[in-house]
C-alpha cells in the first residue's frame, strides 16, 4: 500500500489506508524514484537483525532496529514540501527548466550543435516557443532571473539547484553524484532536490516577473482527479447517485469511488456526509463500533443485521477518522 501511495497509484483503498496512517500528503512523491531495490533492502534489514517479518505483508522493527531508526532519523533529511492540495510534476518541470537553461546557455555561446536535455515532445515545444518569444534579451533576462531567485533562498539549497543545471559544456550532477558529494543517501539527495524544485515552482507561479510562467502552467495540479470533482459537484447540487451515473456516463460503482475519494481529500465540513448517511444509520454505526479502533472495524459486523451497504460504512469510517483527527 505504501509503495503504491508513493508511486502515485491512487485506488480508493490505497488512499483510505494512507489517510488512516496519516500519510496522505506523501502521495506520489516517489513517482519517478526507483523502488526496485526495496525487497533487497528489507532483506538486508532482516539479516542485520534490525527488522523481522510478521507475515507476507508486514515487517516490524526489532528493538535494535528501533534504536537505529531513531538515530538515523535525527539527521535524516525528510521531505519538507509535502502537500495535501497539489501534485507537482517535478520531473517534467526539471527537464523543462533545464532545457530552457541549456538552450539559453548554448545560445549565449552561439552554439547550435548540442544534445538537448531529454524531455517529452510537449515540453520541448513549450520551451522552444518560450525561447523564440523571448529571444531578443533572453540571456540577460534568464541569468538575472536565476540570480534573483537563488540569492534569496537558503545558500545550500541554491547550490543544490545550481549543481543540477545543464548548459554549454556543463552537465551537472546526477542524483547519485550529488549524494556522494554531500555524503548522504540517494533518497535524502532526492528529497533535497525535490524540495528545491517545488520551492522554485511556487516561486515562479507567485512571481510578478512572468518570464518563466509558460514553463509551469500545467506543472502544479490538484491531487483530486477531475472526474471525481465533477461527480462531487453533481452530488452537492442535489443529484442522486443514479442520476450522476447517467449524466456522466459512468458506472454506479465509479460514482461511489469518486465520492469516497473526495471525502478522503476534503476537510470534514466540505463533504456532505449527511446526504449519504441518515441519522438513524449513523446511530446504528456509532453503537456497533463504539469501543473499537477504526482500523479494526469489519463490515461484516453489521452487514447481516442492518440494511447498510459497504459504501455507507466506508463513508462513515472516513467521517470518524476526520473527527478523531480533530480531537
Amino acid at each position: 500500500m505504501i509503495q503504491n501511495l508513493l508511486n502515485g497509484k491512487r485506488t480508493v483503498s490505497t488512499l483510505f489506508w494512507a489517510m488512516r496512517y496519516g500519510l496522505l500528503q506523501y502521495s506520489a512523491i516517489l513517482k519517478t524514484y526507483d523502488l526496485n531495490s526495496i525487497n533487497d533492502d528489507i532483506n538486508k534489514l532482516i539479516s542485520d537483525g534490525l527488522a523481522k517479518q510478521v507475515d507476507e505483508y508486514q515487517y516490524q522493527l526489532t528493538h535494535k532496529g528501533q534504536i537505529k531508526k531513531d538515530s538515523v532519523m535525527e539527521s535524516f533529511y525528510i521531505l519538507k514540501n509535502s502537500s495535501y492540495q497539489y501534485d507537482y510534476d517535478v520531473n517534467e518541470f526539471k527537464a523543462r527548466v533545464l532545457l530552457a537553461i541549456q538552450s539559453v546557455s548554448e545560445y549565449s555561446f552561439q552554439n547550435k550543435n548540442y544534445y538537448p536535455v531529454k524531455t517529452d515532445m510537449k515540453s520541448a515545444m513549450i520551451v522552444k516557443r518560450w525561447f523564440i518569444e523571448n529571444k531578443t534579451k533572453i540571456v540577460e533576462q534568464l541569468k538575472k532571473y536565476l540570480i534573483n531567485y537563488l540569492a534569496q533562498i537558503d545558500e545550500h539549497q541554491a547550490d543544490i539547484i545550481a549543481q543540477q543545471m545543464i548548459g554549454h559544456e556543463v552537465y551537472g550532477m546526477t542524483n547519485g553524484q550529488l549524494a556522494d558529494s554531500m555524503n548522504i543517501s540517494n533518497v535524502e539527495a532526492y528529497f533535497m532536490e525535490y524540495d528545491g524544485w517545488v520551492n522554485f515552482i511556487n516561486y515562479i507561479i507567485n512571481d510578478e516577473n512572468t518570464l518563466l510562467h509558460p514553463l509551469v502552467h500545467d506543472i502544479r495540479t490538484l491531487k483530486m482527479n477531475n472526474h471525481a470533482i465533477m461527480t462531487y459537484q453533481q452530488f452537492i447540487s442535489g443529484n442522486t447517485l443514479n442520476h450522476i451515473s447517467k449524466n456522466l456516463g459512468v458506472k454506479l460503482s465509479t460514482v461511489r469511488e469518486h465520492l469516497l475519494e473526495m471525502a478522503i481529500w476534503l476537510p470534514e465540513d466540505k463533504f456532505p456526509y449527511s446526504m449519504i448517511i441518515s441519522q438513524d444509520d449513523e446511530k446504528i454505526l456509532f453503537e456497533s463500533f463504539e469501543n473499537q479502533s477504526i482500523d479494526d472495524w469489519q463490515f461484516k459486523q453489521i452487514s447481516e443485521k442492518y440494511d447498510i451497504d459497504f459504501f455507507e460504512f466506508r463513508i462513515y469510517q472516513i467521517l470518524r477518522s476526520k473527527q478523531d483527527d480533530k480531537q
Partner: protein, 481 residues
C-alpha cells in the same frame, strides 16, 4: 553510375572527411544502384554515415528498423546533433499523444527510426505505406538470428513488412556475422538478390587478453590493478546490474577514480548526464551492462574489460569493439573465474520457456488469455497466434536453446584456448589469421607488454572527482558574456 570522385567530393562537402572508411563507399554505391545490400562491416566503421549519406542523395524517406529501443533515442539525438533535424523515433517509449502526432506528420521527417514491434502496428504501417520510402535499413541485422533479452519475434515479420511497403531498396547492417548467420539473415529477410559486402571483423588495434582466476578475490584484485594501471577512459561490462553497482561502489572506495554505473535502472536524467560526462572525459570508467554504448559515439576508449564473459562471440565483438575507434592501440580483457559460465547457462534457462511451460500455456490458454503475460508467455503467445502447434513450438524453443548453448560453448572455447585468441575469434567468423605477434593477444604464451603499447596511465585520473561548486560560479559559467 556515380564515380568515386563524385562520391568523395560530396563526402567532403557534407561530412568534412577526405576519405571513406572501410566498406562505406562500396555499400553506398550498391544501394544507389538499387541493390538490396547486406553490409558486414567491422565495429567502428561508421555505419550511420552510410544511410545518412544515401538519405542526402535520394528524395524519399530513410526508415531504420533497430531492435534496441533504449538506444534508438540516442541515435536520433546523434542524427539531430549531426544536423539532421528531421529525424524521429517511433517506439513504445513515446506517449500515445506523441505517437499520434508523429504518425500524422510522418511526411515531415527524413529519417525515421522504428522498433520492429511498432512497425507491426497497423496504424504505423499504414502511415509508412502512404510515404515514399527510398531506403529501408535493418540495423543490427544479426539480431534476426540472435536470441536474447532483446530478441523480438517481430523481426521475423520483416519479410512481410518489406513486401507491404512495396519493397524499397533494403540495407541490412551488422558488424558480426559468420557465414551461417549471413545465410540465415538472407533466408529470413526473404529477398531474392542480395549483394553481400563483407569485411574482416578483425580490429587489429585492440589487443586481446583473457585472464583466468580461481576465486573472486583474485579476480577483483586484478580488476583493481588494471583500472589503476590502464590508460583511461574505459568500460567494464557486467552481466548483472547488481554486480555492476557493487563493483562500481567498490572501485570508488578503493581508488580516486571517477566511476559511474550505466544501465537500464538509471532514470533519463542520470543517463543523459553520465553519457555526456563520459563523452567529455569527465568520467574515467563506466560500469555497464551490455545495453550501454551502442548509441554513443566515443572514439578514445582505451580499454574494455568483461567482468563476466559475454554470452556469445558476436556480443563480445560488439562490446569490445567500443574500444579504439580512433585507431589507436587499445585492449580488451575478459576476467574469467572458473565456472563463470554457469551464470550464462542460467540466463539461457531464464530466457527460454521450458517444455512444461509451453504445454501449460497451450492447455490453459482460454483461462489465461486475459491476464498480463510476462516475457516468456508473450513469446509463446506470439507463436500460438501465428498458428504454430504445441509440439512445433516445443521444437522451436528446444532448437533455440541448443543454438544458445552452442554459442556459449564457442565463447568458452575462446576463453579457454591456449592458442592465438585472434585466430580463434576470426575462424568463428570464417576468416583466416596467422599473424600472431607480441601485440596480438595473450594466447600462445605471449605476455602483453602494456608499457610498450602505451597503455599505462601516467596520471591517476582524467579528472579529480566532481567538486561542490557554489551557485554563483555555476551561473557565471553557464552564460557567456
Amino acid at each position: 553510375m556515380i564515380s568515386s570522385d563524385d562520391l568523395k567530393r560530396q563526402l567532403k562537402q557534407w561530412f568534412g572527411f577526405d576519405d571513406f572508411r572501410m566498406g562505406q563507399e562500396e555499400v553506398i554505391k550498391s544501394i544507389l544502384e538499387g541493390h538490396d545490400t547486406l553490409g558486414v562491416l567491422p565495429t567502428g566503421t561508421g555505419k550511420t554515415l552510410i544511410y545518412q549519406y544515401v538519405g542526402k542523395m535520394v528524395d524519399g524517406m530513410v526508415v531504420v528498423v533497430s531492435p534496441l529501443i533504449s538506444l534508438m533515442q540516442d541515435q536520433v539525438d546523434r542524427m539531430r546533433y549531426l544536423g539532421e533535424k528531421k529525424t524521429v523515433a517511433i517506439t513504445s517509449n513515446l506517449s500515445w499523444v506523441d505517437r499520434r502526432r508523429v504518425i500524422k506528420h510522418l511526411n515531415k521527417f527524413k529519417y525515421v527510426y522504428v522498433s520492429p514491434e511498432m512497425l507491426s502496428n497497423t496504424d504505423v504501417l499504414e502511415s509508412f505505406q502512404k510515404n515514399n520510402i527510398s531506403l529501408f535499413v535493418v540495423d543490427e541485422a544479426h539480431c534476426i538470428n540472435q536470441w536474447g533479452p532483446d530478441f523480438r519475434p517481430e523481426y521475423l515479420n520483416l519479410k512481410w513488412i518489406i513486401n507491404v511497403l512495396n519493397h524499397p531498396t533494403t540495407l541490412m547492417l551488422t558488424a558480426t556475422a559468420s557465414n551461417d548467420v549471413i545465410s540465415d539473415i538472407k533466408e529470413k529477410i526473404g529477398l531474392p538478390n542480395v549483394d553481400t559486402i563483407k569485411y574482416s571483423t578483425n580490429r587489429p588495434n585492440i589487443a586481446l587478453s583473457v585472464d583466468t582466476f580461481t576465486s573472486n578475490e583474485d579476480k577483483n584484485e586484478q580488476l583493481l590493478y588494471l583500472v589503476n594501471k590502464l590508460v583511461k577512459p574505459g568500460i567494464i561490462y557486467f552481466s548483472s546490474k547488481k554486480v555492476a553497482n557493487a563493483v562500481c561502489e567498490w572501485i570508488k572506495e578503493k581508488t580516486k577514480l571517477n566511476v559511474e554505473v550505466y544501465h537500464a535502472d538509471l532514470d533519463a536524467d542520470s543517463r543523459y548526464r553520465i553519457q555526456h560526462q563520459f563523452i567529455n572525459d569527465k568520467i574515467d570508467i563506466i560500469c555497464a551492462t551490455s545495453a550501454f554504448g551502442m548509441g554513443i559515439d566515443k572514439d578514445n576508449i582505451r580499454f574494455v574489460i568483461h567482468y563476466h564473459m559475454p554470452a556469445n562471440l558476436e556480443s563480445y565483438v560488439q562490446e569490445m569493439g567500443r574500444a579504439g575507434r580512433d585507431g589507436k592501440q587499445s585492449i580488451s580483457y575478459i576476467l574469467y573465474k572458473e565456472k563463470d559460465e554457469i551464470l550464462q547457462y542460467r540466463f539461457i534457462e531464464d530466457t527460454i520457456p521450458s517444455e512444461d511451460m509451453i504445454s501449460f500455456f497451450y492447455d490453459h490458454y482460454e483461462q489465461m488469455k486475459d491476464n498480463d503475460f510476462d516475457e516468456k508467455a508473450t513469446l509463446i503467445n506470439y507463436y500460438l497466434q501465428k498458428g504454430f502447434t504445441k509440439s512445433e513450438v516445443i521444437n522451436i524453443f528446444e532448437g533455440r536453446r541448443n543454438e544458445l548453448v552452442t554459442s556459449l560453448n564457442q565463447m568458452l572455447g575462446y576463453v579457454k584456448t591456449k592458442g592465438c585468441k585472434r585466430e580463434f575469434l576470426l575462424r568463428y567468423f570464417n576468416e583466416n589469421f596467422s599473424d600472431h605477434d607480441e601485440n596480438c593477444c595473450n594466447g600462445e604464451d605471449t605476455q602483453l607488454q602494456l608499457e610498450k603499447m602505451n597503455l599505462v596511465q601516467e596520471s591517476r585520473s582524467l579528472n579529480s572527482r566532481t567538486q561542490n561548486l557554489k551557485w554563483r560560479s555555476i551561473i557565471q559559467t553557464l552564460f557567456s558574456k
